[in-house]
């Protein structure tokens, strides 16, 4: 990261491509994670590691996420904030539902649903609110008061 806390993605890409162009594959450890050589300072800054294996198929080198810590409450708060942003707008059509799709690659949305379940949520003007991902969904349904 830079001193401002942002990733120097140009330097990371430049160094990774330089590594690919200069590396002697025969000298790399096989099927284990290893740090990049010290001269790649941008890669070292983000504690990047690589994994290598000979292959008889076409592959494209890729950067991926590593296991990490996270807080389910944080994504749940983000759901509530997004809900509030959507509630202040006005929509044509009827009935209107709201579908909030959790795609956080650093979190586990199902755990955030555990946090949300039981919390009182005001989702007017929507008739129905769906929150979740491809594994689990909370469905909030409004039953209109009749006088």
């Amino acid at each position: 990261m830079t001193t401002s806390g942002e990733y120097d993605r140009d330097a990371i890409l430049r160094e990774f491509l330089d590594f690919l162009r200069s590396v002697d594959f025969a000298a790399l450890p096989v099927k284990e994670f290893a740090p990049f050589p010290k001269q790649y300072t941008a890669l070292e800054t983000i504690e990047a590691r690589f994994w290598y294996a000979p292959a008889n198929y076409w592959t494209l080198p890729r950067f991926q996420a590593r296991a990490h810590a996270y807080a389910p409450e944080s994504l749940a708060s983000r759901v509530v904030q997004t809900l509030q942003d959507k509630r202040v707008k006005r929509y044509a059509g009827s009935p209107v539902w709201l579908a909030l799709y959790m795609t956080d690659m650093l979190g586990v949305p199902e755990h955030s649903l555990d946090v949300l379940h039981g919390v009182q949520v005001d989702f007017s003007p929507f008739e129905k609110l769906l929150v979740g991902d491809q594994r689990a969904v909370l469905v909030y349904t409004r039953h209109r008061r009749t006088n």
Binding site: L13, F16, R21, A53, P61, Q64, A92, L100, V137
Partner: protein
């Protein structure tokens, strides 16, 4: 009860076991999803992100199936209508506004990963020497 005095019911649904099969039966503008051509923002060899309307229909379709609404027919709409019009299997039509929920540190991280992977794919496409060198080798990286 909410602030308008209406009663609110909350139900949690887990995805059905045949989720993929049911997703494939969801329709986009009358065409079953399994037959829909993906709508990418850019050349998918470099950047596999979908267009916003396509992503919105995906998000709605995924949530509807997980919630038990099968074989919906989805249409993209423009404001002031919500993002998607859904014709449900029971014959009713609903309008669905949608949004992705993602934390900003995660969004920033995802953006960096996408930038790196697009850059790597482009470099391999444009540099025949690099392309030849990578043949027969599987190398991936991860950040801390």
């Amino acid at each position: 009860m909410d602030t308008e005095g209406d009663r609110i019911a909350v139900v949690r649904h887990a995805a059905p076991e045949n989720y993929s099969e049911l997703i494939a039966q969801t329709m986009y503008e009358g065409v079953e999803l399994q037959n829909v051509v993906h709508d990418f923002r850019n050349d998918p060899r470099h950047d596999a992100r979908f267009t916003q309307p396509y992503s919105e229909r995906n998000a709605v379709g995924y949530l509807l199936v997980t919630a038990g609404y099968y074989k919906a027919n989805l249409f993209s709409e423009k404001p002031p209508l919500p993002d998607v019009r859904a014709e449900l299997a029971d014959g009713t039509t609903v309008y669905i506004e949608t949004a992705e929920v993602i934390e900003s540190p995660s969004a920033q991280f995802e953006g960096v990963l996408r930038f790196l992977n697009v850059g790597i794919a482009r470099a391999r496409d444009e540099d025949s020497a690099l392309d030849a060198k990578l043949n027969g080798h599987d190398l991936n990286a991860e950040r801390g």
